[in-house]
């Protein structure tokens, strides 16, 4: 007889990602689609749901949705219709959300996610277009809820996976892979803090070998990918414990509590949903031709996985370096622009992932906003390679280049930063150093070779860091041998 603790469990996870598009306007009206403005300053009779108004579909929102569908390797529906999802909540001024029910714009897609050994295919069940709801601020001081309808009508795409994910870590890897693909598409900010990317999770646990899914719970309110992972880990453990105790899981929506680090039951009142979907009579159907889809396909960027492989093959980068570069499309592009000018891919990569990345971080900026061109960066790297400046000084020069937008040449000339490579000038400096430190010279002659570093340091100080320390060391050794 097996004891209960010997049971082998398997976790089944499906994710729903909501993606806000960064179109200039909302999905069904001309109000600006911007984040962070004063409440209720981006509304009109249409998105406020006032009587007698009619929604009109934003052409760009459809184009973005087709881009996402193609990036997810999904079938794009040729006929697009919208449906009303009816529910009563203050964030929804019309009393219904315009969404898509039985004919989502995309079906049966997939993306590949990396695993320890190779990669895994995660199916995309469907992806559909809808309008975002307003934002509710809960104010306990005045014992009321406050509603801001600026967000109402923001184009939203919901991307639903198949129940293909088998662990919280896989869920996390799916999210990071998906986010990178979506960022490459340039259709959304993909910023969880601003809510332009949100994720809900469905999880169930069963015993290994079972073929049907057990009761699932839905998790909401996770505000980062890490929170999604931890919430799933908590819920996975909870399901197992419930089954080990011989009890059953109740199908319900649970909220992730970031402070308590646990999931808690959402009050059942809020989940009494009966959406009564029906076709949206205010919007006519939309027909997407294969020509139109092909046209949009032509505009798709090279995706992260393809770019990664190409960077490795074309520039001989290792997996780690190539992976760091593709995390930001702009950085990867900048790298390639540099390589066209200066054929030292590894050195360029080191600068981008080292000094440039540090500058971007400390300035909370990105490569585009940084005032440095591929021409200027490669010119600076060449200066190091040609021995004009040391690596250390070059990093200072980089900071000055970014501050001023000037080229390395100008900064080196203005600040007199070129390495002193004139032997006679260095010999003079060494003369002075040797004369000033007879004790140290004696030590070296007695065999204490490490004392030489002190003399090199003194000489560097005297040249204000402009000498090549390696060269100084060699010259000092030669002088002492000849003495």
């Amino acid at each position: 007889m097996t004891t209960q603790t010997e049971k082998k469990f398997e976790t089944v996870i499906g994710l729903e990602v909501h993606l806000q598009f960064k179109t200039r306007t909302k999905i069904f009206c001309g109000c600006a689609n911007e984040f962070g403005n004063q409440p209720n300053t981006q509304t009109c009779p249409i998105c406020l749901g006032l009587p007698g108004t009619l929604p009109v579909f934003n052409r760009t929102a459809l184009e973005y949705a087709i881009k996402v569908a193609l990036a997810l390797n999904a079938k794009v529906s040729s006929t697009i219709k919208f449906d009303r999802k009816n529910y009563y909540y203050p964030d929804l001024p019309k009393g219904y959300q315009i969404s898509q029910f039985d004919k989502p714009i995309a079906r049966d897609g997939f993306i590949m996610i990396p695993t320890a050994s190779s990669e895994k295919r995660i199916g995309i069940h469907r992806a559909h277009l809808e309008e975002d709801a307003g934002k509710i601020i809960h104010d306990s001081d005045i014992k009321a809820s406050l509603v801001d309808y600026n967000r109402t009508g923001t184009p939203l795409m919901e991307i639903v996976t198949e129940p293909d994910l088998r662990s919280p870590q896989e869920a996390y890897d799916y999210l990071t892979t998906l986010k990178l693909i979506l960022k490459y598409l340039d259709v959304s900010d993909c910023d969880m803090e601003k809510g332009s990317l949100r994720c809900d999770a469905n999880i169930s646990v069963r015993e290994v070998g079972e073929t049907i899914l057990r009761t699932k719970t839905e998790l909401k309110n996770m505000n980062s990918f890490k929170a999604v992972k931890i919430a799933l880990e908590f819920e996975e453990a909870r399901h197992r414990a419930v089954y080990l105790a011989g009890e059953t899981i109740t199908q319900e929506t649970r909220l992730w509590n970031e402070i308590k680090q646990m999931t808690v039951t959402m009050r059942s009142k809020e989940q009494a949903h009966d959406y009564r979907y029906f076709p949206e009579p205010d919007l006519v159907p939309f027909i997407v031709s294969t020509e139109q889809i092909d046209e949009i396909r032509q505009t798709l960027p090279e995706f992260p996985e393809a770019k990664l492989n190409r960077l490795k093959n074309q520039y001989g980068l290792n997996d780690y370096d190539a992976n760091v570069l593709v995390q930001e499309k702009a950085i990867a592009n900048f790298f390639e622009d540099c390589c066209k000018i200066y054929q030292e891919p590894k050195k360029i990569c080191n600068w981008l992932t080292g000094a440039i990345a540090a500058e971007i971080n400390s300035r909370n900026n990105d490569i585009v906003q940084l005032k440095i061109s591929p021409q200027n960066l490669t010119a600076l790297i060449a200066k190091v390679e040609n021995g004009v400046v040391s690596n250390l000084v070059a990093k200072d020069i980089l900071t000055m280049m970014i501050d001023s937008g000037q080229s390395a040449d100008i900064i080196i000339a203005e600040k007199g930063l070129a390495q002193v490579s004139d032997d006679s000038a260095l010999e003079k400096v060494i003369d002075e150093i040797l004369a000033a430190n007879p004790g140290v010279v004696a030590q070296i002659k007695e065999g204490k070779d490490s004392a030489k570093g002190f003399l090199v340091g003194q000489a560097m100080k005297k040249t204000q860091g402009k000498a090549n320390p390696k060269k100084l060391g060699e010259m000092i050794t030669r002088r002492l041998l000849n003495a």
């Binding site: 409440p39 981006q42 009109v56 760009t60 203050p90 009321a144």
Partner: protein, 94 residues
């Protein structure tokens, strides 16, 4: 078969308050409507293309161009209650 309970449930979803006589009347009405739908279901529509819209119109788009929004005060003009530029509503979560 539509029952009184069904009507009360649907009225609840629609946030409509109904008197007892109204519920009784609507129960009969809804029963009639469903009977009519059942009749329609018997029609042979195998040769008819499915449609989600009565008008023979397709692809009505708007370009992604910003148009002026209402001012905050205009947007809030019909709000029974407001607070700091927001619509004030009964608390939805404690």
């Amino acid at each position: 078969m539509i029952t009184k309970k069904d009507v009360e449930y649907i009225a609840g979803l629609a946030r409509i308050h109904l008197q007892d006589q109204e519920i009784e009347k609507l129960t009969g009405n809804l029963e009639d409507i469903l009977g009519y739908i059942e009749k329609l279901e018997k029609l042979d529509v195998s040769q008819v293309e499915p449609t989600s819209h009565a008008l023979p119109v397709q692809n009505v788009f708007r370009d992604d161009v910003v148009r002026p929004s209402l001012s905050q005060s205009d947007a809030l003009k019909n709000a029974p209650q407001q607070h700091n530029g927001a619509f004030k509503v009964p608390q939805v979560i404690e």
